[in-house]
């Protein structure tokens, strides 16, 4: 799937949400061998004990986050690495890479954006007692997908 945008175009949730969903689905299917499916966010609250984030700069400016509970993050790491993935560092590393690949895959699908948008290296926060506030005050495209029955929230917050 590819969508044309101009540099001045703002994200529209209706048009970019399917692209974000597809970007997430592809990353999980190719790298983890698992199918994930979008669900209604209000019916699947996400406890964000692990939050991975990647910054975007250029024609798309903002931050993409991937959020899930600790057990789900461990399952993601195990799906990527096998049963050896248990240490918190490996779990965080795995979730950071997933976030990185989703951000890259998403921008690759927006024709005309990829050339002019750069990604930061991922950052991962663990622990639930924090508030996340992005200075990106523009459009928000967010989705929740089920991975082995557990919800994972993916959110793209764009600078206005």
């Amino acid at each position: 799937m590819s969508t044309d945008i101009s540099s001045s175009t703002r994200a529209h949730k209706e048009s970019w949400l399917p692209i974000l969903d597809l970007a997430v689905e592809e990353v999980f299917e190719i790298m983890l061998g698992c199918r994930v499916k979008p669900v209604t966010p209000s019916e699947h609250p996400v406890h964000g004990e692990f939050t991975a984030m990647v910054g975007l700069a250029g024609s798309l400016c903002g931050v993409l986050t991937v959020r899930c509970d600790a057990e789900t993050a461990r399952q993601v790491a195990k799906s990527m690495l096998g049963d050896t993935a248990d240490a918190e560092q490996q779990v965080a590393d795995a979730l950071g890479e997933i976030c990185n690949m989703i951000a890259g895959n998403f921008k690759n699908k927006l024709a005309g954006t990829d050339e002019r948008c750069l990604l930061s290296v991922p950052t991962v926060i663990s622990g639930g007692e924090y508030r996340f506030r992005s200075m990106a005050d523009g459009d928000v495209v967010d989705t929740v997908l089920l991975f082995e029955g557990a919800p994972i929230a993916v959110c793209l917050q764009l600078q206005g």
């Binding site: 190719i30 990185n100 990604l119």
Partner: protein
Amino acid sequence: MDKVRALIIDDSSVMRKIVERSLRQAGMELEKVVEASNGAEALVALQDNVVDLILCDINMPVMDGLEFVRQVATVKNAKGVPIVMITTEGSESHVVAALSAGARGYIRKPFTPDQVKEHVLSLLGRKP
């Protein structure tokens, strides 16, 4: 098939393991795997290690993959060693920059083991 000595450069230890696993899934017997978490570490590692193949991420702290490819050309142990970039950066400008700097292949993340096999075996002059 001869055993291969590989240098895998990625700031994510998880991705380094996945790349190594993909090489094994491609049917490659690995004699040695050297890991580095950025380009600068990789340049140091190449002082003491001879390898047959280098797989390198682009977005890394300290020294990114493109700068590594530029600088590695002067390292004796890396002369003629094929470099394959494995990265989320999919733009044509990144591909052109990597190939111009001396990389011989380019794989976009997410990738399948078959894609690794296709790129790497041909560079090593082997049949899939």
